[in-house]
Amino acid sequence: MGNETSIRIGSGAGYSGDRVEPAIDLAQRGRLQYLVFECLAERTIALAQQQKAKDPTRGYDPMLEDRMRAILPVCHGNKTKIITNMGAANPLGAMERTAAIAEELGIKGMKIAAVMGDDVLEALKQDTHSLLESGQPLASLGHTIISANAYLGAHPLVEALQGGADIVITGRVADPVLFTAPLIYEFGWDMDDFKLMGQGVVLGHLLECAGHLTGGYFADPGYKEVPDLHRLGFPMAEVSADGSFTLSKLDGSGGVLNLATCKEQLLYEIHDPAAYYTPDVIADFSSVILQEAGKDRVAVTGGNGIPKSGKLKVSVGYTDGYMGEGQISYGGPGAEARARLALKIIEKRLQAYKNEYEEIRYDLIGANSLYGEKISTGNPYELRVRVAARTSKREAARRIGNEVEALYTNGPSGGGGALKSLQEIVAIQSVLIDGQLAETRVHYKVT
């Protein structure tokens, strides 16, 4: 490769549970060379590792089956390659399942790659690392550790494309890499050209949340209008070999793509805009120039970057006790007084067990649950009492919901709609490791 003049890439999902139809529409009408599905949130991979521990054939994205069934025939017909992190904790299993679906659908000659090597749990045991969040040694988490997955760079994905893959399935990789890998492969980019790589990260960051760029999570009636959110279109980009690109969406699809939607997404989940750390480059978003290029079209240039740190971030998943929760509603005149009385009752009831809980939180949904008392104003006609607590003991967690529910017969008048829940907490902290510790390899399967 290395002789293409422009590449068209679409964004088919912004998270695991995202809508499927916009991706099908993009695959059908977008004239795409690549369709990317970013489906792996920070904690999802730890949950997937737990699933894989129960059943070694699982541990990939729960929506993989539905997405692949819907998308494989049209992508195969249009020669659109698929890149996705739906492998989660089990890219090999996802490859096998995808191949089986393709064969069931009668698709022959499709090459599927699984990118391995992000699982560094074993490698971590041989070294001492400090947790970035708590500053404690990794060993302090002891036997509670479920998973350790490094955010890989573009290298193994490029290798898979060079190996002729039509579908590349990964586990944990840095999200923008799903988009930079095809550019490196198609244009023959030098991965040490940090300006190009930085601009590639800008592309990946803008596209990785799919509908975020086309008016999803943007509408604010009276201020920011977005037409037809019920059939929101997902974004795509036409990228030139110099890295400049134009974002757009399909004619006739819902949503809006303009300077404002692009700015919100560019600054989403970043800290220093001049130093966005990825495995391949430290990208600089502060020099980015956005220009309106027609209706629902924005041209993007100016992304920059400096050499990478050589370190990889690793998400370490671990069990962290239990969370118990209970809710109940109060309404009408005096609702707030009764709701506050309800909270008081629970607080007194839990006093006897105080040392069993790390933290207990008391909310009045409708009055103070989002912003506390200082910012919130007004007198709501209905309120929802909420009590939540974190504890190492399952029974202590269960007590929270039971106590709230017992307000039916023991609390203030008119409480209704009690709900309770209990869940094991899977928490995440991070460590930085030497890049060499993650040994990547690519497996293939041809239908």
């Binding site: 800290h271 001049a274 909310d363």
Partner: protein
């Protein structure tokens, strides 16, 4: 006047750190935002719900600022007891800030 009249905003999260963008609708209003919405004011505005530091980054080419709020999410998305664990609703409240 409320910040909402001149700017739009979105919250993001990474671990126990939140970031809130504040973006001018019109380029000419950007200096007003820079003058009014300082890191100190944002820290004070949310002082009841978190005590961490606030760092402001300016992006004049985009007419935007990015506020990074440390220790803002009750221990992080995975273990916070908050109803809105991601802090996604913070941006809407910030737009209610009075500016001049």
């Amino acid at each position: 006047m409320k910040l909402r009249e001149l700017a739009h905003s979105r919250t993001g999260d990474k671990g126990n750190i939140a970031n809130i963008s504040v973006i001018a609708y019109r380029a000419e209003d950007y200096p007003v935002l820079v003058k009014n919405v300082t890191a100190e004011r944002v820290k004070d505005y949310f002082s009841e719900i978190f005590e961490g530091e606030v760092v402001r980054y300016e992006l004049p080419l985009l007419g935007a600022m990015n506020f990074v709020l440390y220790d803002a999410l009750g221990g992080g998305v995975t273990r916070s007891l908050a109803l809105d664990k991601h802090g996604k609703s913070l941006s809407s409240a910030l737009l209610d800030m009075e500016i001049s």
